[in-house]
C-alpha cells in the first residue's frame, strides 16, 4: 500500500515546492506563481458554463460575495502534480476518485498526484459536497478533469516542438511524452516545464481521455487515506491541536423552544481549569484548559430556562402533520384529470405510508477548532461547504467574510447535515470570547437531541386500475415537516447554535394552493417511476401512466430538520415502491413484471431486470402461495428508483425471514443492480452500495427519533437504536452496469433509497402482512400480522 501517498493526505500537505512558496507568502497563490517552475492551469469555477451542477446553485450554497477563487492544477518541474478541489472526502472515497481522475487525464502515476481539498484560501468554490453531486461535478462538468486535460494537451504541444514531431505522432505514458514509432525519443513533463512558469487558461474544448483508454480510472484503486486511518495516524478534525488551545463545551436548553433566564456563573467557579463562562443571547458555553474540566464545568453550571411550548404527542404525530396549517404546497405534476380517471376506474386502491424522523447519528460527535482573533478567524471544520460556511461563521462572529478562513478537516461520517456547522459556530463563539484557540466536541446528547433530523413523512396514495388491471391514474399527496436546514451562505439560524446566538431560521413561507409546475423536477423522487411526468409538452418521467398528480405539503416542524442521506427521496420511494406492490398483489401480478409493464425508461428497466436475474427471481404474484400463520416465513421483495429523477439507476431484491411469533425480521440477502454511468472505481462503488444497503436496513428496521412532552428522548445509542457490528449482516451482491459513454451520476445515495420498500415487500411476500410504517419494529410487524385477512 505504500505506493499511495496516504501520509500526504493525512497531513494535507502540499507538494514541497508549493509548500515552501505558499508558507513564505502567507498562503497567497500569487506568490506560489513566483516560485519555482510550474505549469499551471487556472480558471474560475463559476465562470465556465456547466462547471456548476445544473439547477442547484442555491442548494449548493453559492452566492457569497467577492470574486470567485480560481481553480487550478499545477505540474512542477519535478513532475509532481498538485490539484485543488472544492469537493471533499467525507468517507465516500472522493479523494481517491478525484486523484484517479487527475492521474488519468494527465497520464501520470497516481502517486504523483496530491490533492488539496476544501480550504477557502486555496481551493475553488464548488458549493457543498452533497446531494450525490460531487463526483459528477468534477467528472462531467469539467473543473478538475478539464484542467488536467488542458495541461496534457499543452504539454504534448510543447513536446511536439521539442521533439520536432507532430503531436498526432506522440503518445503519453507515466508523465513522459514520446514518439509513438520511436519511444527512445521522449521528454518528461518535468523537463518540459523546466524552470519556466507556464500559466494556461482552461480550454473548454480540451480532449478528455476515452474510457477505453483508461488505465487508472475504472480500476479498483485502494483508498489512499485508509492506511493512515487503520494505523491511527490520520488527522480527523477531532485531532487538530493548536498551541495554547483551550477546550469548550456548550450548555443546550433542556427543552425544545426554551429560552435563557439566567446563568449562575459562581456555580462552576470551583471547577479547576475553568477559563470563562460565555453567554450570548440564548447561547451558553464554558471554556476550560482541559476537555474534562470543560465537561465538568458545563455539568455544574446552573442555568435557568423558561420552558418552551409543549411538543405534539408522538403517538399521533402523523395525524398532527396532516392537520397542520398553514402549509407550503408544491405540485410536482398534475394532468388535471386524476379525479375523473379515478372515478372511471374499475378498481381504486388506497394506502397511507408513514416515516419517522431519523437522525444522522454520526459515530464521533461533531467537533471543530476555532482560532478567533480580534480581526480574523480560522475555523477547522468538517463542514460539507467551506465557502458558504465562511459566510455564516463571519455573520455569527460579526467579522467580514474575507477575514474568515475555513479549513476542512474530515469528521466522523456525516451522511448529510450532522452537527458540523453548529459545532463550528460553537467553537467560533467560544474562541471569540476568550481570544484563544478553542476546540469543541459535542457530548453525545448535545449531538443527538439538537441535530437537524431527516424529516418525518405522511404519504397518501391512490391508484386507479382498468378492467385488465393496468394502472390508469396515480394520485399522491404528502405532508412533511421542516425547520432550518443547511445554513447556506446567509442563514446561520438554520442550525441550533446560530438560532441560540440570535439568528432566525429561514422563514416558513406558506403557499396554498400550489401553483402549476413550470418544469419537471423529480429531485425528491416525489413522482413515482410509473407515471409519464408531463409538465407542459415535455414528459420526463420514467413511466407510462398518463393521469398523474403529486402534491407535496411542507408544514412547520417542532424539531430542526435537514438533509439526511437520500433526503425525501428515501421517504417517497418507500411509499411508491410498496404501493406499487400492493397494486400488483391486487391484480395478482408478479411485482417485477408489473413494474416492467409500467416503466418505459430503458436504463431503469435494465437495472430491474439485472437485479431480478442476479437474484434468480421466481416469477409469481405476492404473497407466496404456501402462507402459514406461525413460525419462520421467508419471502422476497423488489424496489427500484431513478435517484433524484436523473442521478443514478438502482434496483434491489431483498430476501427476508419473518419470525411470525416475535415479529422479528431477518434480512438474508440483498441483490443490488446499479447504473451510475461510467464506473470510476468499482471497489469504491461497491463499498458505497454495501454501506448504503446496510444503513438502509438499520433505518428500515430500527431507527426512529423519540420525544416526550418537551424534549427529544433519543439521546444516546440505547435510546436511538442503530444496528451494531454484532448484527448478522446479509450478503450484499452487486451488479454494476458500466456505461462508459454516459454521463457520471452520483452513487452514494442510491442503494439506501430502495432498501425499506424492498424489505417491506419481502415481508408481505413472506407473510401476507403489509407494514406501512417505518421502522418495521417487531411490534408493528406483529400488529400487521394480526391484521391479516
Amino acid at each position: 500500500m505504500s505506493e499511495y501517498p496516504a501520509a500526504r493526505l493525512a497531513e494535507q500537505t502540499l507538494a514541497a515546492h508549493a509548500r515552501s512558496a505558499l508558507a513564505g507568502a502567507g498562503f497567497s497563490r500569487r506568490d506560489f506563481l513566483r516560485g519555482s517552475g510550474a505549469l499551471i492551469v487556472t480558471f474560475q469555477a463559476a465562470g465556465i458554463p456547466g462547471t456548476q451542477p445544473a439547477g442547484s446553485s442555491s442548494a449548493q450554497g453559492l452566492g457569497r460575495p467577492g470574486a470567485a477563487l480560481d481553480s487550478w492544477i499545477a505540474i512542477a518541474e519535478d513532475g509532481t502534480v498538485t490539484a485543488y478541489t472544492g469537493k471533499c472526502e467525507l468517507g465516500q472515497g472522493l479523494y481517491t476518485a478525484q486523484a484517479q481522475l487527475i492521474a488519468e487525464e494527465l497520464v501520470v502515476p497516481l502517486h504523483r498526484v496530491t490533492l488539496v481539498q476544501c480550504d477557502t484560501e486555496l481551493t475553488p468554490d464548488q458549493g457543498t459536497t452533497s446531494g450525490a453531486q460531487s463526483h459528477p461535478a468534477n467528472f462531467n462538468r469539467s473543473n478538475l478533469a478539464l484542467a488536467a486535460a488542458t495541461a496534457r494537451g499543452a504539454l504534448v504541444q510543447l513536446a511536439s516542438e521539442r521533439l520536432g514531431t507532430p503531436a498526432s505522432r506522440l503518445e503519453v505514458k507515466d508523465g513522459v511524452v514520446r514518439v509513438a514509432a520511436d519511444p527512445s525519443r521522449a521528454v518528461s513533463y518535468g523537463a518540459l516545464v523546466g524552470g519556466r512558469k507556464l500559466n494556461l487558461a482552461l480550454d473548454p474544448n480540451a480532449k478528455r481521455r476515452q474510457p477505453r483508454d483508461w488505465t487508472v480510472l475504472g480500476k479498483p484503486v485502494p483508498r489512499l487515506d485508509l492506511p493512515a486511518m487503520a494505523e491511527g495516524r490520520f488527522e480527523f478534525v477531532h485531532n487538530v491541536r493548536l498551541p495554547g488551545m483551550l477546550h469548550g463545551q456548550v450548555v443546550r436548553p433542556p427543552a425544545v423552544g426554551a429560552t435563557l433566564l439566567g446563568v449562575d456563573e459562581r456555580s462552576a467557579r470551583d471547577v479547576p481549569g475553568l477559563v470563562k463562562v460565555v453567554v450570548k443571547k440564548n447561547f451558553v458555553g464554558v471554556v476550560a484548559e482541559k476537555p474534562w474540566q470543560a465537561l465538568r464545568a458545563a455539568t455544574n453550571l446552573k442555568v435557568t430556562w423558561a420552558s418552551g411550548a409543549a411538543l405534539p404527542r408522538q403517538r399521533d404525530f402523523h395525524d398532527y402533520l396532516r392537520q397542520q396549517r398553514p402549509t407550503r404546497d408544491t405540485l410536482l405534476v398534475d394532468s388535471k384529470d386524476v379525479e375523473a380517471k379515478l372515478a372511471q376506474s374499475a378498481t381504486v386502491v388506497k394506502a397511507t405510508y408513514l416515516h419517522p424522523y431519523q437522525m444522522h447519528g454520526s459515530l464521533g460527535s461533531s467537533c471543530a477548532v476555532a482560532d478567533v482573533r480580534s480581526d480574523q478567524a480560522t475555523i477547522w471544520s468538517p463542514t460539507q461547504g467551506i465557502h458558504p460556511h465562511r459566510n455564516t461563521v463571519a455573520m455569527v462572529l460579526g467579522l467580514p467574510p474575507e477575514r474568515v478562513r475555513v479549513v476542512f478537516r474530515m469528521g466522523s461520517g456525516c451522511y448529510g447535515l450532522n452537527g458540523a456547522e453548529t459545532v463550528s459556530y460553537d467553537a467560533a463563539l467560544l474562541s471569540q470570547a476568550v481570544g484563544k484557540p478553542v476546540r469543541v466536541q459535542l457530548t453525545r446528547k448535545d449531538e443527538m437531541a439538537w441535530e437537524n433530523f431527516g424529516a418525518a413523512f405522511v404519504v397518501d396514495q391512490r391508484i386507479g386500475l382498468d378492467e385488465q388491471g393496468n394502472i390508469i391514474a396515480w394520485d399522491c399527496e404528502t405532508w412533511s415537516p421542516t425547520l432550518g436546514g443547511r445554513p447556506g451562505a446567509s442563514t446561520p439560524g438554520n442550525v441550533i447554535t446560530g438560532f441560540l446566538a440570535g439568528f432566525e431560521p429561514a422563514p416558513f413561507t406558506p403557499r396554498s394552493p400550489a401553483p402549476d409546475p413550470e418544469s419537471f423536477n423529480n429531485s425528491s423522487n416525489a413522482v413515482p417511476s410509473y407515471v409519464v411526468g408531463c409538465v407542459g409538452a415535455r414528459c420526463e418521467g420514467t413511466g407510462g401512466v398518463e393521469s398523474e398528480r403529486v402534491l407535496a405539503h411542507a408544514v412547520r416542524s417542532p424539531f430542526w430538520t435537514g438533509p439526511l442521506r437520500s433526503p425525501q427521496r428515501l421517504q417517497n420511494t418507500f411509499a411508491h415502491e410498496c404501493f406499487l406492490d400492493e397494486v400488483a398483489q391486487r391484480v395478482k401480478a408478479d411485482p417485477v413484471a408489473y413494474r416492467l409493464n409500467h416503466v418505459r425508461d430503458p436504463r431503469l428497466r435494465d437495472v430491474l431486470t439485472a437485479a431480478a436475474r442476479a437474484a434468480s427471481w421466481e416469477t409469481r404474484p405476492s404473497p407466496r402461495p404456501d402462507l402459514g400463520p406461525r413460525g419462520i416465513a421467508g419471502g422476497r421483495g423488489v424496489a427500484c428508483v431513478l435517484y433524484e429523477g436523473d442521478n443514478g439507476y438502482c434496483a434491489m431484491v431483498a430476501e427476508v425471514e419473518v419470525n411470525q411469533d416475535t415479529g422479528d425480521v431477518m434480512v438474508k440477502r440483498l441483490v443490488v443492480a446499479l447504473d451510475c454511468g461510467p464506473v470510476s472505481n468499482p471497489d469504491g462503488l461497491q463499498n458505497q452500495i454495501e454501506g448504503g444497503a446496510l444503513q438502509g436496513i438499520s433505518r428500515a428496521l430500527r431507527e426512529e427519533v423519540t420525544w416526550d412532552d418537551h424534549q427529544v428522548t433519543s439521546i444516546d445509542w440505547r435510546t436511538y437504536r442503530s444496528l451494531t457490528l454484532g448484527y448478522v449482516a446479509p450478503v450484499v451482491e452487486s451488479v454494476l452496469i458500466d456505461r462508459p459513454d454516459a454521463a457520471a451520476t452520483g452513487a452514494g445515495e442510491t442503494s439506501i433509497t430502495v432498501v425499506a420498500p424492498a424489505i417491506g415487500n419481502a415481508i408481505f411476500d413472506a407473510t401476507g402482512a403489509r407494514v406501512r410504517q417505518l421502522p418495521f419494529t417487531p411490534e408493528r410487524v406483529k400488529a400487521a400480522l394480526a391484521a391479516r385477512a
Partner: protein, 155 residues
C-alpha cells in the same frame, strides 16, 4: 491533581492529572494520540477503545488513576516503526472502512478477542463487536478483514 505514571505503547509518561479524569482525555489531549476517539462518552460505541494488559477497555469511562502502571496500547501502538500490524494490513487489504472513525474500536476489539481465542467463530466475533458501532455500515468488509487476520495468524 496527582502525579501519575502511565505506560503507553511501550513508553513511560509522568504527568499531572486528576486521577478521576477518563483515560481517553489523557491519551488524546495530554499525549496527543490519534487512535482513541471520543464517540459517545458512555461506553456504548467503542470509539475510545484501548488495550490494557491486552484487554479491550472503554477509555472514555475508565479513570486514568485506575490504569497507572499498567501497559496501555493504542491503535498507533499496534505496529512497529517498520510497518503496520497484520490486523491493520488486513483492514487495508479488504478496504474495510468508509469514514474510518470506527476503525480504532473495531480493530482493537477484534485483536483482543483473537489474541485470546485465535479460533473464534463468526458468532463469537460478532458477539465481541455487539457494542461497537460503524455508522457507515462497512459490516461486510469489517468481518472479512477480521477473518483474514485470523487466517493469517493461524498460518
Amino acid at each position: 491533581m496527582s502525579t501519575l505514571s502511565l505506560k503507553v505503547n511501550g513508553r513511560s509518561h509522568t504527568l499531572e492529572a486528576d486521577p478521576a479524569t477518563p483515560l481517553l482525555y489523557v491519551l488524546s489531549d495530554d499525549l496527543g494520540l490519534r487512535g482513541p476517539k471520543f464517540g459517545c462518552g458512555l461506553a456504548q460505541c467503542g470509539s475510545c477503545t484501548v488495550l490494557v494488559e491486552g484487554r479491550a477497555i472503554r477509555s472514555c469511562v475508565t479513570p486514568v488513576g485506575s490504569v497507572a502502571g499498567a501497559e496501555v496500547t493504542t491503535l498507533e501502538g499496534l505496529g512497529t516503526p517498520d510497518g503496520p500490524h497484520p490486523i491493520q494490513r488486513a483492514f487495508v487489504e479488504e478496504q474495510a472502512a468508509q469514514c474510518g472513525f470506527c476503525l480504532n474500536g473495531v480493530i482493537l476489539t477484534a485483536k483482543a478477542l483473537l489474541d485470546q481465542d485465535p479460533d473464534a467463530t463468526d458468532e463469537q466475533i460478532r458477539q465481541a463487536l455487539s457494542a461497537v458501532l460503524c455508522r457507515c455500515f462497512a459490516h461486510v468488509r469489517i468481518l472479512r478483514a477480521i477473518k483474514r487476520y485470523a487466517r493469517e495468524m493461524a498460518r
